[in-house]
C-alpha cells in the first residue's frame, strides 16, 4: 500500500504533507468531514490557506505510517468529549452546571440555555457549554437511567 502523499511532523510540531508532485506543505491540518456521522471515513487534509490537499475516502486504505500521523494529528486537534454519564446538575432551569463523565475524563460545565442542546438526529445530541466546547451524546437510549432521567428535564 503506497499513498500518493506522505505525512510527518517537523520539529516545530507542524504537520508536513509531501504530495505526489514532491511539493511540501507545512502547517497542514487534518479534519474529518463527518465527525459524528462517519468518523473513520471521509478525512481531508487542508493546507494552511484552507485549500484541500488530500482527500481520504476510507482511513483503512492509508499506509500505517501515514495513518499513525493522521491519528496523532486528529487527537491533538479534535475535541468533542462524549458524555457517558451525567452525575448531576445544580438546577433544572438554565444556566445550569452539569457534572459529567466524558470519554475524556470527568468535568463540569455550564449550560447557558436549553437551546444549546441541539438534536442532530433522534438519538444524537450536541450540548454546547458556555465557552463553546461541544459535548456529544451519541446514543441517548444507550445511556443509564439516571442520566436519561436528568436529561429528560432539559429535552
Amino acid at each position: 500500500m503506497s499513498d500518493a502523499f506522505s505525512l510527518s511532523f517537523n520539529p516545530l510540531g507542524e504537520l508536513v504533507v509531501r504530495l505526489a508532485d514532491d511539493s511540501l506543505h507545512t502547517k497542514a491540518v487534518v479534519v474529518r468531514a463527518f465527525p459524528i456521522a462517519e468518523p473513520d471515513r471521509s478525512i481531508s487534509i487542508l493546507g494552511v490557506e484552507g485549500k484541500e490537499l488530500v482527500w481520504i475516502d476510507d482511513l483503512s486504505t492509508v499506509s500505517p505510517a501515514n495513518k499513525q500521523v493522521i491519528d496523532r494529528a486528529l487527537q491533538m486537534r479534535e475535541f468533542m468529549p462524549e458524555i457517558l454519564r451525567l452525575d448531576g446538575v445544580n438546577s433544572f432551569s438554565t444556566p445550569s452546571t452539569w457534572r459529567v463523565q466524558t470519554s475524556r475524563g470527568p468535568t463540569e460545565f455550564v449550560l447557558k440555555g436549553e437551546e444549546d442542546i441541539k438534536r442532530l438526529s433522534t438519538n444524537t445530541l450536541i450540548v454546547a457549554d458556555a465557552h463553546g466546547v461541544q459535548f456529544l451524546i451519541r446514543d441517548l437510549p444507550a445511556l443509564d437511567r439516571h442520566t436519561r432521567k436528568l436529561l429528560d428535564r432539559f429535552l
Partner: protein, 764 residues
C-alpha cells in the same frame, strides 16, 4: 524584598497547588503569572499548572503519586504561541527550531492564558535586551483590551456573563407585574374573602332548621312559621350576597389579570427587541413567537381564572375547618382526616406534572418551529417537491406532542379520581362516626346535617384544587420560559453612563486589535484599521473571510471579543446604542420591507420625516419614478417581504431609507449583489448619491463595483492581509490580484460563451 514579593505571588496560586508549587520555587524567584490548565496533551480532562516566574517556566502534570514537575529556564529565543480551535486553547513553547512543550485548556481559562503569554513575552524581552520593550501605558483588560481604572480590576464588559441559577419560584416573580395593581388586588382579595364567607352561611343555617324546626315537628310539635321564614330569608340573603360579591371580585380580578398579562407581553417583547442579534441567531422564530404569544396568554388565564379559584378554595377550606372545629371538635377531626393525604398526593403529583408541562411546552415550540421553518421557505419546498416530507415532519412533531401529552395525561387523569375516592371515603367516615355520636347523644341530627353539607363543599373544593395543580404547573412552566427572555442580558449592553457623540460627527472609525469569536470559532483576529472621515473603504475577500462580521461589529450588532472599535475616538461600547445607530445607514443585500406603505418604509428610520423629505430621498435613490408608476404612488402597500416589487426596486427603497436619516457612516453590505447588471447601474447611481461625503464601508463581491473606493481592504480568514488602492494592490500581485484575476477570467469566459451563442445564432 524579593522574598516578600514571591510570597505574595505564591499567595495567589490556587490552594491545591500552593504547597507543591512552593516546594519547586527558589526563594529568589518571583511568580509573574500562572495558569491552571484543565486538559492534558492528549486532551483528556486533567488539572495541571503552568507558572511563569522571572527565571523559569514550571509545569506540573498530575500523576497518581503527586504532581510531576518540569521546568525550563527562560532564555532569549523562546517563544510562546497562543491559539484556539473548537473551544480548546493551546499554549505552545518553542525555540526557533523546535517545539518544546504544549499546554491545552478549555476557553474558561483563556483570559489567564493570554495574561500568562503576555507576562512571558515581556520577561523574555527583558532577558534578551536587558530592558522592557515598553511599559504598559494604562491598565487594560487582558481579554478585550478595554482600559481599566486599576490593574487587576474585573473588566465590566467581560464579566457581565454571570451564571446565577434561576429561582424555581417562577410564579412569584410575576409579582413584579402585579405590583402596580396592588390596591385592586387587595380589593379583589377582600371581596373574595367576603364572598367565600357568604357562601358558607347556608350550611350553617341548616343546623337550626333541622334542630329547631324539623326534628321538633317529627316529635309532634308544630312548625314555627316565623322561624322558617327567618331561616329561609337568611339562606336567600346569603345566596344573593354571595352572588353580588362573587360577581364583583371576579370582575375586578379579571380586569387586573388582563392588565398584568398585557404588561407581561409588552415587557417581554420590548426586552426581546433590545436583545442583540446574537440572541436571535441562536433561537428559532417559532419558539419566540410561542413564548410571547401563547404562554403569556396561558399565564393570563391562570391569573384571572385559576388563581382566583385557588384562593377561594384555600379560604373556603380554612373557613370551613374553623367552622367545623367550632361546632364539634371530634367530628371535625374525623372530617379533616383525609386532608393530609390529599395534600401529600398533590405534592407528589405536582413535580411530575410540572416537568411534564415543561416538556409539553418545548414540544409545542417544536411544532411551531416546523411551521415557521417551512412557510417562509415554501418556494424551496415546492421547487424540490418535498411537500410530503415537510408534512411528515409536522406529523412526527405532532406525534411527539401527542406522546408527551399522553404520558402526562395518564398521571393527572389518575389523580383526580383518586382525590374523589378519598373524599367518598371521608364522607363514609363522617357518616359512620356521626351516626355513632348521634346515637350516644353527643351531637344533634342538625349538627350532623350541617357537617355533611359543609363536607360536600369542602371536598368538591379539594377536588378542584387538585385540578388547579395542573394549571398552576402549566403557568409556572410558562412563567419560567417568559422569564428566560426577561432574564437574558443583552450581549450588547447599554453603557451605564454613555458618552455623547460629538455633533456634528466626523465619522472617523478606528478599529484597534479587534478579535471576534462566534461560538467557538474565531472569525476575526487581530484586525487594525483606521478609516478617515468621508473615506470610502471597499472590503474585499472570499466569502467567509469575515467581511460581514466586521460590518456587524462596526454596527455593534455584536460586541467584539477583544480590542476596541472607536468612532471619533470614543469606544462604541461607551455610546448609547440608539444614539450611535442613528448615525449609521445600512443597505443590505436582501432589503427587508415591512408591511405598510412605501412612504412608511422609506421613513422607517425617521418616522417624523416630512413628505418633501421622503420624496427627496426617493429621488436621490432613483426610486421616485418607479414609485410614481405604481397605482397608489407613495401610498402603495407593500407586503411582508415586499412582494410585488422587484429586487432592484426594493433595494432602491432601502437606499432611500438610508438616505433619509442622513447618516455619517454608511454601510453597504453587498448592496448590488442580487440584481441584474442593468438594475445594478441604476442602483449604482443611487449609491453614488448616497456615498458622497460619508464615511462608507462597502462590501462587494463583484470587485468592479468598488471602483469608487478610496482604499481597498482585503480580508482572509478573519485577518487583514492587504490594503491600498486598486493599482497598488494589483502591482503587489497578492491576494487582491488573485481575486481580481479569478473574476476577470470568469467574466472573460462568460463573454466567450455568449459570443459562441450569438455566433451560432448567426449561423442559424
Amino acid at each position: 524584598m524579593n522574598a516578600s514579593l514571591s510570597a505574595n505571588a505564591n499567595f495567589m496560586l490556587p490552594f491545591e497547588w500552593k504547597a507543591s508549587a512552593s516546594a519547586q520555587l527558589s526563594p529568589q524567584e518571583n511568580v509573574l503569572a500562572w495558569l491552571e490548565v484543565d486538559l492534558d496533551v492528549q486532551l483528556q480532562f486533567a488539572k495541571g499548572l503552568l507558572i511563569v516566574t522571572d527565571q523559569r517556566i514550571l509545569s506540573a502534570n498530575p500523576r497518581a503519586s503527586g504532581p510531576e514537575w518540569q521546568c525550563w529556564t527562560l532564555q532569549p529565543g523562546l517563544v510562546m504561541d497562543h491559539f484556539d480551535y473548537a473551544g480548546v486553547g493551546t499554549l505552545s513553547l518553542r525555540s526557533i527550531s523546535e517545539q518544546i512543550a504544549v499546554w491545552r485548556f478549555t476557553l474558561n481559562h483563556n483570559v489567564l492564558a493570554m495574561r500568562l503569554q503576555e507576562a512571558f513575552a515581556a520577561r523574555v524581552e527583558v532577558i534578551t535586551h536587558g530592558r522592557a520593550l515598553q511599559l504598559s501605558v494604562a491598565a487594560r483588560c487582558p481579554q478585550c483590551k478595554l482600559p481599566l481604572e486599576v490593574e487587576g480590576d474585573e473588566c465590566p464588559v467581560c464579566n457581565r456573563e454571570q451564571h446565577a441559577p434561576l429561582s424555581t419560584w417562577g410564579l412569584f416573580r410575576l409579582w413584579r407585574f402585579g405590583h402596580p395593581y396592588r390596591w385592586q388586588l387587595l380589593a379583589g382579595f377582600l371581596l373574595t374573602l367576603a364572598s367565600t364567607a357568604a357562601t358558607l352561611v347556608p350550611p350553617y343555617l341548616t343546623m337550626p332548621l333541622m334542630d329547631d324546626v324539623l326534628i321538633p315537628f317529627q316529635n309532634g310539635q308544630d312548625i314555627d312559621h316565623d322561624l322558617v321564614v327567618l331561616y329561609l330569608g337568611g339562606l336567600f340573603a346569603a345566596a344573593a350576597l354571595a352572588w353580588v360579591l362573587g360577581w364583583a371580585k371576579t370582575y375586578i380580578l379579571a380586569l387586573v389579570s388582563e392588565r398584568i398579562g398585557a404588561d407581561l407581553r409588552t415587557t417581554a417583547y420590548e426586552h426581546l427587541m433590545r436583545l442583540s442579534l446574537e440572541y436571535f441567531g441562536g433561537r428559532r422564530t417559532g419558539d419566540l413567537m410561542n413564548r410571547i404569544g401563547a404562554e403569556t396568554d396561558r399565564i393570563n388565564v391562570f391569573l384571572s381564572v385559576h388563581l382566583l379559584d385557588f384562593a377561594t378554595d384555600i379560604l373556603m377550606i380554612l373557613m370551613t375547618a374553623v367552622i367545623l372545629l367550632s361546632i364539634d371538635i371530634r367530628l371535625a377531626a374525623a372530617t379533616l382526616l383525609p386532608l393530609p393525604f390529599i395534600i401529600w398526593l398533590i405534592h407528589v403529583v405536582r413535580d411530575k406534572l410540572r416537568t411534564g408541562f415543561e416538556k409539553i411546552d418545548r414540544v409545542w415550540s417544536e411544532l411551531t418551529n416546523v411551521l415557521s421553518d417551512t412557510i417562509p421557505g415554501i418556494r424551496v419546498v415546492k421547487a424540490f417537491a418535498q411537500e410530503r416530507r415537510e408534512a411528515n415532519r409536522f406529523r412526527d412533531a405532532n406525534k411527539h406532542n401527542m406522546a408527551v401529552n399522553d404520558r402526562i395525561n395518564f398521571v393527572w387523569s389518575l389523580f383526580s379520581p383518586t382525590v374523589t375516592l378519598m373524599t367518598e371515603v371521608g364522607l363514609l367516615v363522617v357518616w359512620g362516626f356521626g351516626i355513632w355520636l348521634v346515637s350516644h347523644h353527643q351531637i344533634t341530627v342538625g349538627v350532623l346535617t350541617a357537617f355533611l353539607a359543609y363536607i360536600g363543599r369542602f371536598y368538591t373544593r379539594l377536588d378542584s384544587m387538585s385540578r388547579i395543580v395542573s394549571h398552576t404547573q402549566k403557568a409556572a412552566a410558562g412563567a419560567k420560559r417568559i422569564f428566560e427572555i426577561l432574564d437574558h442580558v443583552s450581549s450588547v449592553p447599554e453603557a451605564s453612563c454613555p458618552q455623547k457623540l460629538p455633533t456634528p460627527l466626523q465619522g472617523r472609525i478606528d478599529i484597534e486589535d479587534v478579535g471576534f469569536r462566534y461560538g467557538n470559532r474565531a472569525v476575526i483576529r487581530g484586525l487594525n484599521l483606521s478609516i478617515q472621515p468621508g473615506e470610502m473603504i471597499g472590503l474585499v475577500g472570499q466569502s467567509g473571510s469575515g467581511k460581514s462580521t466586521l460590518v456587524n461589529l462596526i454596527c455593534r450588532f455584536y460586541d467584539i471579543s477583544e480590542g476596541a472599535i472607536k468612532v471619533d475616538g470614543i469606544d462604541i461600547r461607551n455610546i448609547a446604542l440608539s444614539d450611535y445607530r442613528s448615525h449609521i445607514g445600512l443597505v443590505l443585500q436582501e432589503p427587508y420591507l415591512f408591511f405598510g406603505t412605501i412612504a412608511d418604509n422609506i421613513a422607517y428610520g425617521k418616522p417624523n420625516a416630512s413628505r418633501q423629505d421622503i420624496v427627496a430621498a426617493a429621488r436621490a435613490a432613483h426610486a421616485h419614478e418607479f414609485i410614481l408608476r405604481l397605482p397608489q404612488g407613495y401610498d402603495s402597500l407593500v407586503g411582508e417581504r415586499g412582494q410585488g416589487l422587484s429586487g432592484g426596486e426594493r433595494q432602491r427603497i432601502s437606499i432611500a431609507r438610508a438616505l433619509l436619516i442622513n447618516p455619517r457612516i454608511l454601510i453597504l453590505d453587498e448592496a448590488t449583489a442580487s440584481v441584474d447588471t442593468e438594475t445594478e447601474q441604476e442602483i449604482q447611481k443611487a449609491l453614488d448619491n448616497l456615498v458622497q461625503g460619508r464615511t462608507t464601508i462597502a462590501i462587494a463581491h463583484r470587485l468592479s463595483t468598488l471602483h469608487k473606493a478610496d482604499r481597498l481592504v482585503v480580508l482572509e480568514q478573519g485577518e487583514l492581509v492587504e490594503e491600498g488602492n486598486h493599482d497598488t494592490l494589483m502591482a503587489k500581485q497578492g491576494a487582491y490580484w488573485r481575486l481580481y484575476e479569478a473574476q476577470a477570467k470568469n467574466a472573460e469566459a462568460d463573454r466567450v460563451k455568449l459570443g459562441d451563442i450569438s455566433r451560432k445564432e448567426d449561423i442559424v
